[in-house]
């Protein structure tokens, strides 16, 4: 799943064995997603409601971290504005849902609107490099509250909108239903992304990331690849935002602050840039670390610590992971297993 692996295995001349291996590799994402689906199904029946809700939150985060890790890790574009794209998805979802009260339609609207937003930002982003790109996307993240208060008739300012939801079908508890929704979204996203990055598109992404001039000489359209990468990633963020709207049953600018965008980048770096598995680890951390920090802070009895400790924990984890495993958490496993295999 990592790009390192692909590079290593792409070198030998294609033989029958290699072809077979390639078709295996094509099928592998389906197997992984199916296995994931089964695990989620089992978990959603065994976990208690609050854990199910957390499971759903991991799923919703997984959508956005997967998209972001493809953009940043495989295409080399750093986005500090994915929180804003999530907000776009969430608000579109909320407005559509409150108007038509149809869950599938609202998801489609959310995805369509973020595709558009992603294309616009992507067009601008494709012209920018390094810190300038970071600056642009940062501005997008900061502008969200101002937009909601300038057009307060529609977005209701800081208070945000509440999202009307039909009760879950049958006798399914709300939390289990939310987990299913979130993970359906997440697993579909990951499946599509896995196929995308394994194909020609994935090769173009990496080519542009590694050397733009070389990629251009090889006939890759740099700008188009970058814009496409941004759009794909924006769609994932939009879906994630819509899922968060379902989970919170409300949307407000406070739910998509600048720190969320920064946390997302931190999560994929800790998880392992460019790896979808790393994105999953990152999503788990995004849910687990604040909870952990809160329980620690509660034991110390200092209220002031409660809201701030999560930031510290995240920072420390980032530093430790970067020192111990510069490739992120996902890379630890791979080097370990590879070494084990070599020794055998």
């Amino acid at each position: 799943m990592t790009d390192m692996k692909t590079k290593a295995s792409a070198s030998p001349v294609p033989t029958k064995v290699a072809q077979e291996r390639r078709s295996m590799r094509r099928l592998a994402p389906i197997a992984a997603v199916l296995a994931g689906g089964v695990v989620i199904l089992i978990l959603s029946y065994t976990l208690e409601p609050f854990r199910n809700y957390q499971l759903a939150t991991v799923g919703a985060y997984f959508c956005v971290t997967a998209g972001l890790t493809v953009l940043t890790g495989l295409n080399g574009q750093l986005s500090l504005g994915h929180g804003a794209l999530m907000a776009t998805g969430a608000y579109s979802f909320a407005l559509a849902q409150n108007k038509w009260l149809s869950l599938p339609l609202s998801f489609v609207v959310a995805i369509a609107v973020t595709t558009l937003a992603g294309a616009v930002i992507g067009l601008a982003a494709a012209r920018l490099r390094g810190p300038y790109l970071a600056g642009l996307t940062l501005a997008v993240a900061i502008v969200v509250p101002s937009v909601t208060s300038t057009f307060d008739e529609t977005f209701n300012s800081d208070q945000g909108l509440s999202v009307v939801l039909d009760p879950p079908p049958g006798t399914i508890p709300m939390e289990r239903w939310q987990a299913w929704l979130a993970w359906t979204g997440a697993l579909l996203t990951v499946l599509l992304l896995a196929f995308l990055v394994r194909g020609a598109f994935g090769r173009r992404l990496r080519a542009v990331r590694d050397d733009e001039t070389a990629a251009k000489l090889a006939g890759v359209n740099i700008a188009r690849t970058q814009v496409l990468a941004f759009v794909v990633s924006a769609v994932c963020a939009g879906l994630s935002g819509a899922l968060f709207a379902v989970l919170a049953q409300s949307v407000s600018p406070g739910a998509f602050p600048l720190t969320l965008s920064l946390f997302l980048v931190m999560a994929i770096v800790i998880g392992g840039l460019g790896s979808l598995f790393g994105a999953l680890l990152g999503a788990i951390l995004l849910v687990a670390l604040p909870t952990f920090a809160q329980s620690v802070a509660e034991q110390t009895g200092s209220h002031r610590l409660e809201g701030n400790l999560a930031l510290v924990v995240f920072g420390v984890v980032l530093i430790v992971v970067m020192l111990a495993a510069p490739g992120g958490l996902a890379s630890i496993r791979f080097t370990f297993i590879r070494r084990f295999r070599r020794e055998r």
């Binding site: 296995a35 989620i40 208690e48 609050f50 300012s157 409300s250 739910a255 999953l280 002031r304």
Partner: protein
């Protein structure tokens, strides 16, 4: 890829194992299985902003509530049950509120949610609390959303709603500042809107109005506009930080209107601290309150609360937020007492509906089968010599067309051990 799948499975299973190990700590009860209630304990919870932009002032409410519960517990509790109060920080972020309230209800298995703070934050959990049949008592906000007995039968407010307050502030303006040009600055949400609604019911359309959002600490343009419009009275529906900002901004552009401020943004200690050396600018500020003022040494409730504050709250700074927190605690203790020995969720909701609570409040609570709003009015205060003092009489009214009527408070003496007689 297979490895990825295996690791994925392993990670999820580990996560599940790690997560579920600390759950399932519900209490065993005597007769009926009521969440959070045992023969010796009742567990309740809340969400408050302990960090973040709204923490100033509001962060000291929940420790005060907890201190009062500790005081009651030390005196034997209510019907032999000690009260455990779980406070979760939501940073005034609705998404976090969702998370922490689920944690309280589903994992900590609280009996009820008490005094959840904030309009935008609490609005998001109304449906969740209703579905889980959790009593949602004494919400710390004056939004009219809490008063929907048909839609949310278990939700009750605490603060006078902002429309009631707006009407009373409007009555003051109409009676004492007649003929002056009135302008309005409000928070861009239900707080500002409801307040303006009440004000305009009494004084008619205001000459100029503005809004602000908490994420943008600048009210320069609004006050430039008010000055240009020749406003003589400015009514504020603002949180404490923005009250201070408004007063400071007006002074900077040499604009000296009479300020009339909503209760939630008028605590002189909190606002004065934000103004720093400019605190004397508050002199003459008119506001409203429905609980005794922290500086009123003669009030028996204040002396009781002060004692509790010293003994159980580590002598925290005694301001109106502490008075507020303890008043909430007293009301909950009264409700527990009224609900009787066999405590159930339906039982406490019925007890609150029956009302008849006397306490520190200057006006009666509105609770009934058809009304779930909190206090029914306020009394006006004026800042004199750096501290707020009451003047005139208390008023009560409703959020519709009802008249603003004077109310004479009956003095209630607090029980010395903090627990009201059954």
């Amino acid at each position: 890829m297979k490895r990825t799948a295996t690791t994925f499975v392993a990670a999820m299973v580990l996560l599940a194992a790690g997560c579920s190990s600390d759950g399932g700590g519900g209490g065993s009860t005597s007769g009926a299985d009521v969440p959070g209630v045992t023969d010796t304990e009742v567990v309740v919870g809340t969400h408050h902003p302990l960090t973040g932009p709204a923490a100033a002032g509001y962060a000291s409410i929940s420790p005060a509530t907890k201190a009062y519960f500790d005081f009651v517990n030390a005196n034997g509790g209510v019907h032999g049950r000690k009260i455990t109060y779980k406070v979760k920080d939501d940073g005034y972020n609705p998404a976090t509120t969702q998370q922490v309230v689920r944690e309280l209800v589903l994992q900590d298995k609280v009996f009820a949610v008490i005094n959840g703070l904030g309009t935008p934050t609490h609005t998001g959990v109304l449906d969740f609390l209703k579905t889980n049949r959790v009593p949602d008592l004494f919400v710390a906000s004056g939004s009219r959303s809490w008063n929907q007995p048909d839609k949310y039968p278990g939700t009750f407010g605490f603060n006078p709603d902002y429309t009631v307050e707006g009407k009373i502030l409007g009555t003051y303006v109409k009676d004492n500042l007649a003929g002056k040009k009135v302008c309005f600055l409000g928070q861009d949400d239900d707080f500002g809107r409801d307040s303006l609604l009440g004000l305009e019911k009494v004084v008619g359309a205001v000459a100029a109005k503005g809004t602000y959002v908490t994420s943008n600490p600048n009210v320069g343009p609004q006050f430039g506009q008010f000055k240009a419009a020749g406003c003589e009275v400015v009514v504020l529906a603002t949180i404490p930080g923005f009250t201070a900002l408004s007063i400071g901004t007006a002074a900077k552009i040499a604009f000296k209107p009479q300020f009339v401020v909503s209760n939630v943004g008028a605590d002189p200690t909190t606002v004065g601290k934000a103004l720093g050396a400019a605190a004397p600018l508050m002199e003459g500020l008119v506001a409203a309150n429905y609980l005794p003022l922290s500086t009123d040494e003669a009030n028996p409730w204040i002396s009781l609360f002060k004692k509790v504050n010293t003994e159980y709250n580590n002598g925290a700074e005694f301001d109106n937020n502490v008075v507020y927190g303890m008043s909430v605690a007293y009301l909950f203790v009264q409700s527990l007492q009224a609900a009787g020995k066999d405590l159930t969720r339906d039982g406490i909701v019925e007890a609150v509906k029956k009302n008849g609570f006397g306490g520190p409040g200057l006006v009666p609570l509105r609770f009934s089968a058809t009304d779930h709003a909190g206090y029914g009015g306020t009394q006006l205060t004026k800042v004199e010599g750096g501290k707020a003092v009451f003047f005139g009489t208390a008023y009560t009214t409703d959020d519709a067309e009802g008249a603003v009527a004077p109310h004479t408070a009956q003095v209630v003496t607090p029980p010395s051990n903090g627990v009201p007689a059954a």
